[in-house]
Amino acid sequence: MIDVVIIGAGPAGLGAAVAAAEHGLQVCVVDEFVKPGGRLLGQLHEEPDGKWVNGIEEAQKLYNQAIGLGVDIRCGISVYDLRKLENTWCVYTTDEMIESKCLLLATGASETPIPIPGWTLPGVMSIGAAQVMGNVHRVKPGEKGIIIGVNVLSVAIARELQLCGVHVESILLPQPGLLAGSAGNPEKMMESLLRLSHLAPSPLIRMGGKWVSPKLGARLFPKNGFKMWGIPIQLRKAALEILGDNQVEGVRMAEVSANGEVLPGTEKTVSADFVCIAGGLTPMAELASVAGCSFCYVPELGGHVPLHNEFMQTNLAGLYIAGNITGVESAKVARAQGKVAGLSMARELKALVYGGNEKLYAAVEEVTETRRNALIQFQPGIEEARKELHRKFDETYKQKLVSI
């Protein structure tokens, strides 16, 4: 039996592996993808000082650090079941069953699909799929694309696709309806977009971010959209259907009112050879369900998350979580959370020595700091929502867990 198994080799998983291995723990990290790095791999963004952050390089650094500390990293392996014996977690993988004293779930997030007519056609993919194709595999998802779903992620990735030499025709809303949720509502999307305004190259939007109310913004939003990096962002147009016989050939769209109602007589068809659907991210917590964790529904964090405290402990002894499974945030926050989880597991396994507790508390503080300094806020109210979640955890489980 080893000390720690970590599921997910993204920033949270590798961050935790490094922290745990630095305290002498024997750590194994498993990941389904062929390369380590998780969603760090696709990321490419410009910091306010003009420096580009290349996720592939960041991932490589973390990987090298973990390997240097003797962490066993196994890629291309899926986990399909978890079982808890008395003091042992059994992790059933497509390779072999691995037993450990502590288990960390760092499985990240998945994208919420918006099923609109024609979405099963080849050439329709999630926005993240296109990002990985372009930045990691260095394959263009197509020559001319339309992105359905206006949010922080879709606008950022549109820019990345542009850098790959892809023409992004426009970013627009899905047709409002039950399945689109708030993604079809111009006001809600304006609110989301304004959180990105400080990054916008257009001074108009940058300034707008400071004073435009989402309501006013959606109403005043020009019919033909604003342009960011030359890409029209259209909050007053909605995609009604993706067209094509055997693959994507175009999108049928129409103008919508500020409330998202389709305006009759405004329909038109725009050609494209690929379409991305951007429905936002939600924590990927299936394995936490399988393990039997308690859950909480927290919209600010992207959906249902396993109940946990600031030390990344769940209500099940020896089971920890870190990264986007705890709520959708940036890779930097995920990595900081990973460090907390690694140190927490070291504490449980009595490997924290010489001021270890101070280190753990400092790491918890670092998560909050990183969150406050984050360039992109995926949702408003994350900090408050997390505090409330931790309070709920303490209320219910503090007495039951040893050594908190």
């Binding site: 099963t120 080849p122 993919m125 993240g128 296109a130 260095r138 030499g165 055997n246």
Partner: protein, 111 residues
């Protein structure tokens, strides 16, 4: 061939030279790069349809690219339900698209 590759990138730089390998999809030969997944190798060659829906026979390709949706499932060297987006392309790999099931294979005529 490989016209969909991003050979030059203003931030990530030029695409490094990769060893070329051969893969076969439904009997047709394609060139892939070492390090490709099956999905990226085929997309680079312009192949988007990876399977046909078991019941409706409609064409399907990659959707999530992270192994979550299973839309890209193919048959590899005889093994069923292999996710193209999570599987490394290997030299001489034989990949087959999944076809619609015949009426006799479908329970009660529908899925």
């Amino acid at each position: 061939m490989n016209s969909m590759r991003v050979n030059h990138h203003p931030v990530l730089g030029d695409l490094e030279t990769h060893k070329e390998i051969k893969i076969y999809f439904d009997g047709q030969e394609y060139t892939a790069y070492e390090g490709d997944t099956i999905a990226s190798a085929l997309l680079a060659s312009g192949v988007r349809t990876l399977r046909f829906h078991e019941d409706k026979e409609t064409p399907r390709g990659i959707y999530c690219n992270i192994g979550h949706c299973f839309e890209c499932r193919v048959k590899v060297d005889g093994k069923k339900t292999v996710r193209a987006c999570l599987t490394s392309a290997e030299n001489h790999m034989q990949i087959e698209s999944c076809k619609a099931l015949s009426a006799s294979e479908v329970k009660g005529g529908t899925l």
